[in-house]
Structures are given as structure tokens and as C-alpha cells.
């Protein structure tokens, strides 16, 4: 397979030059471009955007993609089987669900007869319940010789089955022994049985103890299994030979050439991509990856590792300025003997060998306009060229040491002949599998011995076709099914109660005020608590950028930053400016800030130099006091810091929101929006949340974000709809737009009349410390102020309760905290340097509810559901509003849930592992420890309580409209048709569900109509740490409206 000419470097150059095959270079370029699709697409960590980790495989169905993607990245597709098994034991998965999932999975094949004692379904079910362990030969030999494998039945086996099997076999053996005919059994089996009897001493068979019989039966079982498997004579399957030379060499000799190569490349990629951390920057960086690499390693009077020394001549070519990365790659591939047919895959796998850094080079090359030092075009190609060159030399070196040859082809053939020797399921291993199944399935030796050779063949291949991956998939489906059934049942039951209370209760009246939050799952609980605290209020939600897509610069910010979903590129720039009257004050304060900033910067960078370090070192003892204070009393210290900080913070500010120039831009007069643009934004959001009539006097919009210390992933905790930014300014901007009478006049044209009485307020909710700030309160008219005080008081109570509900998930918070103490606890968390879990972020997300709040209000969702407001009654026939809501909601929520899914099922592979040894590299990402690949994904501390499931959408609409949306939006179609999300359609009038399965909407039949009730959220969750089930929270009014409907009012 690896033909092509061999020879010295020069001859290759000539041959390549002669061919001058630009077509093949074009193909190579295409191969690299294709391979970049599979690199991690996470950009710099300061702008963290949740996305589907297996995004490149979204065209495949989920179940296929996890296998294909998993094998490409060498990652797990599902949780480990043991975790599912644990879930089965504690009832998180029910065996009934496993049965039905398995039945459905097999379809018509379920009843196929395998061997003589069961169907395919029963065989698989047995394997699900008692999975056969696999053991390598050496372990097996040890188990046979030393353990109780052939002496005692597996302990998991019920005693009854054990007894049955023994007595059955005993009778059969005794009978067989008494008859002298030998034609009843095949000769070999007869021989086996007689041998075994002799070995166990059959002269006194009647006085054998129970233990001896047990052992005899097991031995017989083993022997017959062994014989059967041997007879079946199935070809041994073996793993395909790996493509990369490194993999072949590693499996043959244990030498990993990636290790020295990566060591060099990690260090170099780091300094190449550095965004200004290092005091000295890479010389000749601007001339590209390869040239600067060559320049660096060609320095005179320097040492190189011995394996690298021969690269000098090639470096000289790189440095001379006419280096062409593509032809260098082609040359390397040829020297390595890679066929044109294997080229694509080889390139892809090579890039994946250090995928974090390679991906980051690609990100910095293609999409990093806002960073100080983006990578020059072509960096990734040059990276690949350098990498292949290094790999060749590392291979040569390893080959010389190991096989005494430096010829690459020779090394490859020697290594592959060696690695082929290892790893094949042997007869013993197969016997072991069947033996275990025979025990759990109760297959007696008598049954086994009567099986024909084709039957054995069938059995063994059947067993092997149901792999551990398949078992995990079935478990996973059952795991999802349980939660899905529970939540759909809960929504239906709750919906019925709501409908009942609405029909019996008073007509819907205007709420006292409205609070609009982000759709984020973390805002579910604060909304619920607010509604509990003040039942006269109403809450709703929209994606947290509130349709204000902008680049935003705060008064004390150095740069503009996008505040909108990352799929949108904003056109508008908005700046926060000091109030006109406090411009001078602001100047003063900004000078102070500048002075402090200069000083901290000097200390910061100076402490790492010689002289500066000496000064800071000698006076460093002063650092002890803040250090001890911050670690021992983080909350107090932060309060003091804040008090001092108020001297430098900008004074009262306003948003520069109204544009004068025609075109938006960064100039002073081009900042902001025109009035029609503002009106469009206001109309859109009011329609989305269904607030078109009966508007209350005050509507508060809450943007959200999160602040935590010592957390490189801080941005991941912020609002996903603001590209990992904080959404307060969006709420503020929206309120300012909606309060403008000129905008209101324009909005009125689209049929939404905002009376003068209606006022909007912007606010910011910190989901980590549960702090809430309001914007521009001075502009609130006097008559509104008392209502605002009421809102403020309710919000204060709600956020304390919210903190309380959050604290139940933190093991370090005692379960008996009061809400006020819980609020202090979460404030402390956000200011604590030593806190690895400032908050749990989206770790509990599992569901998205799209529809009116009425029927989810009062339902305890355990912070597990995104809530998107949508009122079908104001939508048109083609569901225009729903389509635009879902166009954002489905990809965003699916991205979040899938990133959590993959980071949870394989935290080391897809996620970034434990946070504890993380080390910020190049200001772009994190490495584990001193030097490793860049780690995209989520950390173990972020996902530890996550239940990995595909997110369940429950949408209030009709199947027909949903089908229309699926058909017209390619992204939604891909996610829904590929089963990357689960989809259910809710009909609020009839309280019925349709579930999207196998490409069509099937009516869903509720499993249970039992939904517990609790007087308040606290009563429901108090004392619980784990995920909690659903419940109707019967606040007083709600309960009063329909006394007697809660017959099953017991808690839990």
C-alpha cells in the first residue's frame, strides 16, 4: 500500500519539481481545508461560545455521529456502562424502559430465534442485565487457575437459578452416566464429559458435596462452551491497522513519537500565538509559522535534541523565503509512503494529533479580527508542514534506536508486522463471554452440547454483534426516556390543573408588573420564586440580547465587544458615556483609574523581571495581608475593595444610543441606532414575549451575566445569547428604546400601543452572586416609584430564595441555610479565589419549553428547563414569530446541551478535564499542567452534576406548523431529523402531546398522571441535593382557585 519511490531528499525534490503537479497540490490543499472542519472550533477562551462538540458530524444522525466522531477523536460515545448500571440500580433508569427501548430498537428482528433457547431480544436483554466482562488472555489464564471462576457461580446470579441449573445438570449427568450408549452425545463431548467425571472422581459421585457439584457443573459448562466456540470457528476480528506511522509504532514498540514532536510544537505554537503575555515576542513572527520556526532553530551556538539535529538542512530551505508549505507537505507524505488515496485521512489524523493547538491556529488565522496578533494566512498549512517534517525525523530516530534502520518504509513495515501480532479475541476470550452468558441465561450443559455448529456460529456472532457500545446506547435511550416521560407527564398534568383553575377562577386580569428574563435555564428558578413572592406579577422571557445586536463599550472599557449571539455579526456600535453634567468628574476618575492601572501593570509585568522583581520581592511581604484577607474572608475583602473602587468607577452614565449619521459605525456620530431600527427591535421583542396588550405600568428587562474569580472559563458562565458577554447593557438599551415616545409612535404603526403609563426598566442579574442592578432609575416618573419599590422588594426576596435553591446543589453549603445566609454564601462564592465551582452554569439543563407561561407557571422545573415565551394566539398561520424564535433557540440550546453532553460523557477527551491543574496559555486557552495540548470544552467541575441527555424541546404549536418550520430551516432540520434534540409538541387546549419520533409526530400517551403538589418551592426541594422531580407549586391563590383538585397532595 505504501509504494512510491524511495531515495534521498534531493531526488524527491527533482521528481516533484519535474512533475510540477499543481493538481495534486490543489488536492492536498483541499484535503487540509476539509480536515480543518474536524478541528475544535472553540476560539479564544475569553469569548466562550457553547457549541455542539461534534458539529462537523451534524449531518449524520446522533447515534451514528457519536460512534464515528468518537472513533475519530478517540472518545467515548456514551457514559461508561457502570454509570448507567448505577442509574439502573437507583431507579434513574427503569428496567421496563430498557425493555421497551430494546424492543423498539430491534423492531421486527426481536423475535428471531438464536440457538435453541431464546430470541434475539431475550439474549440482548440478558446481556443488558448481566453484561459479560471481557478479560485479556493473561488475566483469563489467571482467573481460570486462581480464582473461583470454575468453582462458584457468579454472585449476581439469583440462588434459585443456580440451584436449578445444578440439579438439572446433575440429573442429566447421572442419567447419562447410567446409560452406556455413547451415541447420544457426539464423541468429543462424550470424551469431555468422561474425562471430567474421572477427574472429579466419579467412583463416589453419590457422595459429592454441593460445592463439588457446583464446581463440576461449571467446569462442564466451560468445557462445552469452549468446544462449541472452537467448533464455530469464526474468524478472529482484529482492529484495522492504524494509518499513522506513529500509531503503528506505538502499538508495536510502545515508543510514542508524538511525545517529542508535541513537546517542541506546543512550546512553539504557544509563543507563535501569544497574545501579549510574554515579555519578548517571537522574532520574525510576522514572516509566518515555518519561517519563524526555522529562524529560531537555526540560531547559531545553540543545542538541539539529538533527534532534531538532522532537520537543519530542511530548516535552511524554510528560512530562505520561498518556502511552499504545500509542496513540503506533499514531499513529506511521499517520503512517509502515504498513498494519494490515504492522503486525506492521513492529513486529518496528523492535524488531530495536537488538535487543540492546531484548531487554535486555524481560529486565529480565520476568525480573530479583534485580537492583537492574529495568525498570518497559511499558518495551519505551515504548521502541518513543520509537523510532518518533525514526525519524519522522530520516526527515523526511533527506528534507528529500535530496529537499527533509518529508512521510513522499513521502519513502517517492521512495526506493522509486529503490531499485527497483538490483540485478537482468542477462543478463550470468546468462551469466557459465552460462559458468562450461559450462567446468567441458565443454559445448561445439556442444552449447549446439543447445539449444532451453525447454531454455535450464530450464537457467537450474535453475541459479538451486540457490543458494549450498543448496550450503552440502549441504556442511554432508556435514561433519556425516563426523564422525557416524567417531564411530558408533568407538563400535561400541570397543564390540566392550570386549565381547570382558569376555567373556574376569575378572568385573566392585567398583571401588576412584568419581569422579562433571558430564556436561560438558570433564570427559571428566580422567575418561579418571583411569581411565588408576588403572585400578581407576570414573567416572560426572550433570548437575553433582547434583539439588540451590538458592539458595546462600557464607560470604563478599553474595547468594543459583541453582545449578541455569535451567529450574528452586529452592525451597530453602542457606547456608554458619562452623563453630560459629570464629564469632568469622569475625567478625574478615569485619570485615577489610569494611574492605578499603570501601577498594577508595572507591578504585574515588573515582578517577572530581574530589577522589578527585586523591588517587588523585597517589599513583597506587604502582599501577605491582602492575600490572607482574600483567602480567609473573601466576601468582606471584596466589599472593602468595592468601597475603595467606587472612587474610580465612572459616575452616572447614559447610553449613546441614538444615531445621527446615516450609516452605523464607530465614529462618534455613527454610534447607535436610528429610530426605525429601534422600533423594529421593540416590536419584535414585544411580539416574541407576547406582550402586546394589557401592559402593566412597569416592565423590567433583566439581562444576565456572571462574575467569578480564578476562573479562565468565566466567559462561559455569561449569557450565551451575548457571545459569552454580560447582557445588562442589552436590557438597558432595550428599555431606553422602548421608553422613547418617538419610537413608541413608530411601534404603534405595527399595532402595539404603548400608553404613556407603561415604563420599561433595564436591569442586570448576576447569576453567580444573585445580585441585581437596575439602570437609569432616575428617569422613572414619580408615580411609578412606589410600584418600583415593591418590585425591588419582591426581587430581593426572590433572589435570596433563588440563592437558597441554588445552594442545595453545592455540597459545601449546609442544607439548613436560611435564604439570607444562602445569598451570602453565593456572594462569597463569586468572590472566592479558591472556588472551583462559582456556580453550576447550565449543568442542570435538560429541556426547553417554548410557549405561554400560563401552563408552566407554578410547575417546579428544578432549574432544568430553558423557558422561551411564545404566544401562539398572536402568531400568524405560517408561524412566523415561532420560526424566528426557534431559529435562534434550537441551535443555541442544542449547542449548550450537546457541549455539556460530550464534555460529560468523555471529560478528558471532549472536555478539558479537571480545572485544578489548568494553566492559561498564550491568553487564548488552557493547558493541563506545564505543557499540554490546548483543552477546549468544559471542565470536570462544571459538568460533575450534569445528566447527559439530548435536550428535550416542548413547543406549544401544532405538528403541521412545526413541520413547516423544520422544512424551511436547514439548521433546525438537521438537528431535529438527526435526533440531536428531542422534540415534543404541546397542545395547550387539549393538554396533549405529540412526540417526534422517526420522522413523524406520534401522539404521546402519558405514563402517569400523578403529579405531586407542594405549597412552595422551598417545601419541595428542602433537604435535597440531587436532581428533583416535578411538582405543582400551589401558591395560595392558585390553590384557592381549585380546592380539591390536589388529591395526591403528598410530598414526593
Amino acid at each position: 500500500m505504501r509504494d512510491g519511490s524511495t531515495g534521498a531528499l534531493e531526488s524527491h525534490e527533482n521528481s516533484i519539481a519535474c512533475e510540477s503537479d499543481s493538481r495534486s497540490l490543489e488536492k492536498l490543499k483541499h484535503a487540509i481545508d476539509h480536515a480543518t472542519d474536524y478541528l475544535p472550533s472553540q476560539g479564544p477562551i475569553s469569548i466562550f461560545v457553547h457549541h455542539n462538540t461534534l458539529h462537523p458530524f451534524e449531518d449524520l444522525p446522533f447515534e451514528e455521529a457519536v460512534i464515528v466522531g468518537g472513533s475519530l477523536y478517540d472518545c467515548q460515545p456514551y457514559l461508561p456502562e457502570a454509570r448507567y448500571r448505577g442509574a439502573l440500580q437507583r431507579g434513574r433508569i427503569t428496567i421496563d424502559d430498557v425493555r421497551s427501548v430494546l424492543m423498539k430498537d430491534l423492531g421486527e428482528d426481536a423475535d428471531d430465534l438464536i440457538a435453541s433457547f431464546g430470541t434475539r431480544y431475550t439474549l440482548r436483554l440478558a446481556m443488558m442485565q448481566m453484561p459479560p466482562h471481557a478479560a485479556p488472555d493473561a488475566e483469563l489464564a489467571w482467573m481460570l487457575a486462581e480464582s473461583d471462576l470454575l468453582k462458584k457461580f457468579s454472585e449476581e446470579l439469583p440462588a434459585q437459578r443456580r440451584e436449578q441449573l445444578i440439579s438439572q445438570t446433575r440429573r442429566w449427568v447421572m442419567r447419562y452416566r447410567a446409560t452406556s450408549q455413547t451415541d447420544e452425545l457426539p464423541a468429543t463431548a462424550d470424551g469431555v464429559l468422561r474425562d471430567l467425571l474421572r477427574k472429579f472422581g466419579d467412583h463416589n459421585i453419590e457422595s459429592w458435596t454441593a460445592a463439588k457439584w457446583e464446581s463440576f457443573v461449571l467446569n462442564l459448562l466451560w468445557q462445552f462452551c469452549h468446544q462449541g466456540v472452537e467448533e464455530a470457528g469464526l474468524a478472529a476480528t482484529s482492529d484495522p491497522t492504524p494509518l499513522r506511522h506513529r500509531d503503528v509504532l506505538l502499538s508495536a514498540t510502545g515508543i510514542d513519537i508524538d511525545q517529542p514532536v508535541n513537546e517542541v510544537l506546543i512550546r512553539f505554537c504557544g509563543v507563535f500565538l501569544d497574545q501579549g503575555f510574554a515579555g519578548l515576542s517571537l522574532p520574525h513572527r510576522h514572516s509566518g509559522f515555518a519561517a519563524s520556526f526555522a529562524e529560531l532553530y537555526l540560531q547559531p551556538l545553540s543545542m538541539m535534541q539529538s533527534w532534531m539535529r538532522p532537520i537543519r538542512s530542511e530548516l535552511l530551505q524554510m528560512a530562505d523565503g520561498n518556502f511552499d508549505a504545500l509542496s513540503s507537505i506533499a514531499q513529506s507524505l511521499e517520503l512517509l509512503g502515504v498513498d494519494a488515496s490515504e492522503q486525506d485521512e492521513y492529513v486529518g489524523q496528523t492535524l488531530l494529533a495536537l488538535r487543540g493547538w492546531a484548531g487554535m491556529i486555524w481560529q486565529m488565522e480565520t476568525s480573530a479580527p479583534f485580537f492583537p496578533t492574529p495568525a498570518p494566512k497559511g499558518s495551519l498549512q505551515e504548521y502541518l508542514a513543520v509537523r510532518l517534517m518533525l514526525e519524519r525525523h522522530a520516526l527515523t530516530d526511533a527506528g534507528r534506536r529500535r530496529f537499527g534502520t533509518s529508512d521510513l518504509r522499513e521502519i513502517q513495515s517492521r512495526a506493522s508486522s509486529r503490531s499485527a501480532l497483538s490483540r485478537r479475541p482468542t477462543i478463550e476470550q470468546r468462551t469466557f463471554t459465552v460462559y458468562q452468558l450461559a450462567q446468567s441465561g441458565g443454559w445448561s450443559p445439556e442444552n449447549l452440547v446439543s447445539m449444532s455448529q451453525p447454531q454455535w456460529r450464530r450464537l457467537v456472532s450474535e453475541v459479538e454483534s451486540f457490543t458494549a457500545h450498543d448496550r450503552r446506547r440502549i441504556f442511554h435511550l432508556a435514561y433519556e426516556k425516563k426523564y422525557r416521560n416524567q417531564s411530558l407527564d408533568a407538563i400535561i398534568s400541570h397543564g390540566k390543573r392550570v386549565a381547570l383553575s382558569a376555567s373556574s377562577g376569575p378572568a385573566k386580569k392585567r398583571p401588576a408588573y412584568q419581569a422579562i428574563f433571558c430564556i436561560d435555564d438558570r433564570e427559571e428558578s428566580i422567575r418561579r420564586h418571583l411569581e411565588e413572592v408576588d403572585p400578581e406579577c407576570e414573567t416572560a422571557s426572550a433570548a437575553g440580547f433582547f434583539a439588540v445586536a451590538m458592539y458595546y463599550q462600557g464607560a470604563d472599557h478599553a474595547h468594543f465587544r459583541p453582545l449578541c449571539p455569535n451567529v450574528i455579526t452586529p452592525d451597530h456600535y453602542v457606547r456608554e458615556e458619562p452623563l453630560f453634567s459629570s464629564v469632568e468628574d469622569n475625567e478625574k476618575r478615569s485619570r485615577r483609574r489610569h494611574r492605578i492601572g499603570t501601577l498594577t501593570h508595572q507591578v504585574h509585568s515588573g515582578s517577572r523581571t530581574m530589577i522589578g522583581g527585586w523591588i517587588t520581592g523585597v517589599f513583597g511581604a506587604v502582599a501577605t495581608f491582602p492575600m490572607v484577607a482574600r483567602i480567609m474572608a473573601p466576601r468582606l475583602t471584596s466589599q472593602i475593595r468595592e468601597a475603595i473602587g467606587s472612587l474610580t468607577r465612572p459616575p452616572a452614565t447614559e447610553l449613546h444610543l441614538e444615531r445621527i449619521n446615516e450609516k452605523p459605525g464607530q465614529d462618534f456620530d455613527s454610534l447607535g441606532y436610528s429610530l426605525p431600527e429601534m422600533a423594529a427591535i421593540v416590536t419584535r421583542i414585544l411580539e416574541d414575549v407576547g406582550a402586546v396588550e394589557q401592559l402593566p405600568p412597569i416592565i423590567v428587562f433583566f439581562g444576565h451575566g456572571s462574575s467569578s474569580l480564578n476562573n479562565p472559563h468565566e466567559s462561559a458562565y455569561n449569557c450565551g445569547a451575548c457571545s459569552g458577554g454580560r447582557g445588562g447593557p442589552n436590557a438597558r438599551a432595550f428599555a431606553q428604546m422602548a421608553n422613547d415616545p418617538r419610537v413608541r409612535a413608530l411601534v404603534a404603526q405595527s399595532g402595539i400601543h404603548l400608553s404613556d403609563e407603561v415604563r420599561f426598566v433595564g436591569a442586570y442579574h448576576n447569576t453567580c452572586s444573585d445580585r441585581v442592578d437596575y439602570y437609569d432609575l432616575d428617569l422613572l416618573p414619580r408615580p411609578h416609584r412606589s410600584l418600583f419599590r415593591r418590585i425591588e422588594a419582591s426581587i430581593d426576596e426572590a433572589r435570596a430564595r433563588n440563592a437558597h435553591e441554588r445552594a442545595r446543589r453545592f455540597e459545601s453549603a449546609p442544607l439548613d441555610l436560611s435564604p439570607a445566609a444562602a445569598l451570602e454564601h453565593v456572594e462569597q462564592r463569586s468572590e472566592d479565589l479558591s472556588q472551583a465551582r462559582p456556580e453550576y452554569n447550565h449543568a442542570t439543563c435538560a429541556m426547553v419549553i417554548v410557549g405561554r407561561r400560563e401552563w408552566s407557571r407554578g410547575l417546579y422545573l428544578d432549574r432544568r428547563s430553558f423557558l422561551t415565551s411564545y404566544d401562539p394566539s398572536i402568531d400568524d398561520e405560517t408561524a412566523t414569530i415561532l420560526a424566528r424564535i426557534l431559529a435562534a433557540a434550537i441551535p443555541v440550546c442544542a449547542g449548550i446541551s450537546l457541549e455539556y453532553y460530550f464534555s460529560t460523557v468523555d471529560n478528558e477527551g471532549y472536555g478539558c478535564g479537571s480545572k485544578l491543574p489548568h494553566n492559561i496559555a498564550s491568553m487564548l486557552g488552557v493547558m493541563t499542567g506545564a505543557a499540554s495540548d490546548l483543552r477546549p470544552g468544559l471542565s470536570q467541575q462544571m459538568v460533575e452534576i450534569h445528566e447527559p441527555m439530548r435536550i428535550l424541546f416542548v413547543i406549544e404549536t401544532t405538528p403541521e406548523k412545526m413541520q413547516l418550520i423544520i422544512d424551511s430551516n436547514a439548521t433546525i432540520a438537521r438537528l431535529v431529523l438527526g435526533n440531536w434534540v428531542q422534540l415534543a409538541i404541546f397542545n395547550a387546549e387539549s393538554c396533549s402531546m405529540h412526540l417526534y419520533e422517526d420522522g413523524c409526530f406520534e401522539p404521546y400517551i402519558p405514563v402517569s398522571d400523578q403529579l405531586p403538589t407542594a405549597p412552595s418551592s422551598i417545601d419541595w426541594y428542602r433537604g435535597q441535593r440531587d436532581h428533583l422531580g416535578f411538582a405543582t407549586i400551589a401558591t395560595e391563590n392558585f390553590a384557592a382557585a381549585h380546592v380539591g383538585t390536589f388529591e395526591n397532595g403528598d410530598l414526593r
Binding site: 504557544g270 503575555f277 545553540s302 478599553a558 522583581g613 520581592g617 474610580t648
Partner: protein, 464 residues
């Protein structure tokens, strides 16, 4: 023995016994397989640090009040070989050098303990971390107070062992374990030098007591009671030991590798305490420098070279932890220079200040992005690139070479691999092949069964 002596004896014993007790308790429960809860581990640790720190402060206060400048605590001769005039004495000394260093160790260990209590919450290795931590703490207390070279060696070894184990804390991955072994082997090298020095001191003075070596006077006023040659010999050995421990030239290669452990362990061990231990040793034996000018020059030269290398290497690094590690090295180099110049108090102050500051910096290393953003916001622009004053005077070619030097970490690892490890390994490989040849010849067939053994899945990267 009067009351004061008794009180001193009691307090001094408490200082030393408290950490040792912590190791014993944590170790015992780990050994019998009854892991303690997170809460009890952290409470025990805090109590232990407190019961070490408070008596230490009390001793300091009493010494200041009574005007005593030297308090020895003897815990007896543990081994005596009269013929060889050898005795192993456990002796601890409270004086103007040891007390500040002891209090520094206690404070930093206490702070890092409090930090780790939350940082490692829910971590499987919680107990393991605190066991190593306790061992480290004991080692630090022992070596700061050591009055004899043997006692110092005991503490020194505990620090070394716990450091290496903490580097390899994440033992599920390959590179921490590799790095841990690397750290350990460098430590062994310096230990060997230390041990030879200890034996020589015994030969020279008949005892391991630093007092004997210094003949008279209390630190810093002591004078050495050995000749210039002897001082040079012992001093050189101790210098090698100190260089290994403090990652001075040419042993700096292990310092970045030590950043594999969890953040707090990197902070305290390599940023703050462990790297200063070598400098502390030099301070302890500083009277030797007065006797031998050559030794003094060597110390200064080593310090200068290390500081220069450290500062270069630190400026080139792109990741925060390694950069801080090398920045530490720079300062340790300067401290060594100060010791060489005889500025003992300055060196002591420098050690204390630097350790505190670096601990803080390393503990908050993960918050770098936020800090940079804050600074950018305050300045209103991108941060100016750090300009080196010396760098601007250098010709461009030299600057590029310096970059290369820093990038490859002073070629120190490469040189060690090439000139020490390689020859060592190849000699033994040669022996191995001779042995194989001989046995094959004797048995007339391939005599090594292990040659045919399959590789373990772990070594081929296929472990499940």
C-alpha cells in the same frame, strides 16, 4: 533547668511535634483504609498549622522580651557510634534566621491549606493531597529549625519526597508522572551532594552540629572553624545541593515541569517555599563563605547566571505558570548573589517578601485573563509590550539568540539528557546486550522470555 528553659522546651517541642502529628494521623487513616472526611482533614490541618505557628510566635515574643538570641531544643541522640565519633542528634535551633523562615513557612502553609480546602473540594485525591501537604509542612518546619546537618537532611528529604509526589499528583496522566520522576531524580542528585557534605562535616568537626562548624557565635555572627580548603570542599558540595533544590543553574529544567500539580501545590512548593530552601541552606552555612573567597565567588557566579537565565526564560514563556516559575528562579538567583555578597539580612527579607508575593501570584494565576482585562480597561488601550531595559541595548542578533536560549530553557534539559542521561543509559544498555549475548550463548537459544511478552495496553496507549 529553670522555668524559662522549660517553657522554651515545651513551646519548641510543640512547634515541631504538631506537624509530625498531622502526618502521623493523616498517614495512619490512609494506611488502614479509613479515609477521613474533607471537613476533618481540613480542620486537622488548620489546627496543626496553628499549633505550630502560635508557639513559634510565643517563642519569638519571649526571645525579644528576654533578649535571648539563641534557643536550642534537643530531642536526644538517636544513634551513637562512639568508635566513629558519630552521633545522630535531633536538635532544633531558634535564632534570628530560623524564626522568620519558620513563621513564613507556617503562614504560607496555613494560607495555602485554607485555599486548598475549597479548591480541592470533591476531588478524589483530597486526602492524598493533604497527606503530602502535611509531609511537606513537617519537612519545612524541620529544615527551618534544624540545628544539625542530619536534622536538616531529614527535613530536606521530606520536602523533596512530598514535592515529587505532588508533581505527580494527577497520576492518571503520563506527563505529571514523568515530570515527578524528573524532579525526583534531580533531587536525588542534590541529596547525594548533601549527604557527602554531611559526612565530611562529621569528619572535619566530629559532629554534625552547625554550631561546631561555626565554632562560635550565633547567626549571623558565626565564624567558621574550618580551614579555607575544607570550607571550599564542603561549601561546594552544599552549593550543588542548594542548586538542585532551588533549581539554580544548571538544574532549572525541573522547575517548569513542577507545574503539573494542582494550582495551590505549584504555588506553595515551587513558587514559594521549596525553591527558597536551597538559599536558606546557604544562609545557614554562610560563615563558610567568609573563610573561602573562591567559594564566595562561586556562589555569586551561580546566582548571577541563574538570575540571568531565569529572567530570560521567564520573558519568553507564553503560559502563566511556567513564566512565574522562572520569575521565581530569577529572584532566587538574586538572593543567592546577596548571600554571596554577605548581605544576609537583605537576603532573608528578600526571601520572605518574594515568597509571599509569588504565592499570591501563583494562587491567582487562573484569573490572569480577567486581570489583564481590568488593566486594559483602566489604561483604555491594549497593554504596552514589556520592554526590557537591557534588551534595548542589545544588537538584534544577540537578542534573537537570547530568545532562542530562553525558548529552549537555557538548553539545560537538552544538555543533561545528552551528556549525563544518554551516556548513562547507553552504558547500561551495553551491559544488557552483553548479558543477553552471554545467556543466549549458554542456553543455545533466546534466553529472555520477556522479549516475547506482549506490551501492556497502557504502554501502547490502548488502555481502556
Amino acid at each position: 533547668m529553670n522555668t524559662t528553659d522549660l517553657v522554651f522546651q515545651f513551646l519548641g517541642t510543640a512547634v515541631v511535634a504538631s506537624p509530625a502529628l498531622l502526618v502521623a494521623i493523616l498517614g495512619f487513616f490512609a494506611l488502614i483504609g479509613l479515609p477521613l472526611s474533607e471537613g476533618s482533614i481540613s480542620r486537622l490541618t488548620q489546627a496543626s498549622v496553628l499549633f505550630s505557628l502560635l508557639p513559634a510566635v510565643a517563642i519569638l515574643v519571649m526571645m525579644l522580651a528576654l533578649g535571648i538570641r539563641y534557643v536550642p531544643i534537643e530531642l536526644g541522640d538517636w544513634v551513637t557510634i562512639p568508635e566513629q565519633e558519630f552521633h545522630f542528634r535531633l536538635k532544633f535551633v531558634f535564632d534570628r534566621l530560623s524564626i522568620p523562615f519558620l513563621i513564613l513557612s507556617c503562614v504560607l502553609c496555613g494560607v495555602v491549606g485554607a485555599f486548598t480546602r475549597r479548591y480541592l473540594h470533591r476531588e478524589v485525591g483530597y486526602g492524598r493531597f493533604f497527606l503530602y501537604y502535611a509531609m511537606f509542612f513537617t519537612g519545612m518546619v524541620t529544615s527551618s529549625l534544624a540545628g544539625t546537618i542530619e536534622t536538616l537532611f531529614v527535613g530536606w528529604e521530606m520536602v523533596g519526597l512530598s514535592s515529587a509526589l505532588l508533581v505527580a499528583y494527577f497520576d492518571q496522566r503520563e506527563s505529571p508522572v514523568r515530570s515527578g520522576q524528573r524532579v525526583w531524580s534531580i533531587y536525588r542528585l542534590s541529596d547525594a551532594a548533601f549527604l557527602v557534605a554531611a559526612i565530611s562535616i562529621h569528619h572535619l568537626t566530629g559532629e554534625g552540629d552547625f554550631g561546631g562548624l561555626m565554632s562560635s557565635g550565633i547567626w549571623p555572627a558565626g565564624t567558621a572553624a574550618v580551614t579555607s580548603q575544607q570550607a571550599l570542599f564542603v561549601g561546594t558540595l552544599l552549593l550543588i545541593a542548594a542548586a538542585g533544590k532551588s533549581a539554580l543553574f544548571p538544574f532549572s529544567g525541573w522547575l517548569p515541569r513542577a507545574m503539573e500539580g494542582p494550582t495551590p501545590s505549584s504555588a506553595i512548593f515551587y513558587g514559594a517555599l521549596s525553591v527558597h530552601l536551597g538559599a536558606y541552606l546557604l544562609l545557614r552555612v554562610s560563615p563558610l563563605l567568609d573563610v573561602s573567597m573562591t567559594l564566595r565567588v562561586m556562589v555569586i557566579a551561580l546566582g548571577v547566571v541563574s538570575a540571568a537565565c531565569g529572567s530570560l526564560m521567564s520573558r519568553v514563556q507564553h503560559d502563566v505558570k511556567v513564566s512565574l516559575a522562572y520569575a521565581s528562579l530569577t529572584q532566587v538567583g538574586i538572593i543567592v548573589v546577596e548571600i554571596g555578597l554577605g548581605l544576609k539580612y537583605l537576603a532573608l527579607i528578600h526571601i520572605i517578601g518574594h515568597a509571599c508575593m509569588r504565592t499570591m501570584q501563583l494562587l491567582r494565576a487562573p484569573t490572569l485573563l480577567r486581570d489583564y482585562q481590568t488593566m486594559e480597561n483602566a489604561l483604555g488601550t491594549r497593554l504596552p509590550a514589556g520592554k526590557s531595559r537591557i534588551g534595548s541595548l542589545m544588537p538584534a542578533a544577540l537578542e534573537r539568540w537570547c530568545y532562542r536560549f530562553g525558548f529552549d530553557r537555557g538548553f539545560m534539559d537538552i544538555a543533561l539528557d545528552q551528556w549525563i542521561v544518554r551516556p548513562f543509559v547507553s552504558i547500561f544498555e551495553r551491559f544488557d546486550s552483553w548479558e543477553r549475548g552471554t545467556t543466549d550463548w549458554m542456553s543455545h537459544e533466546a534466553s529472555r522470555e520477556s522479549d516475547a511478552a506482549e506490551l501492556h495496553p497502557e504502554s501502547t496507549g490502548r488502555a481502556a
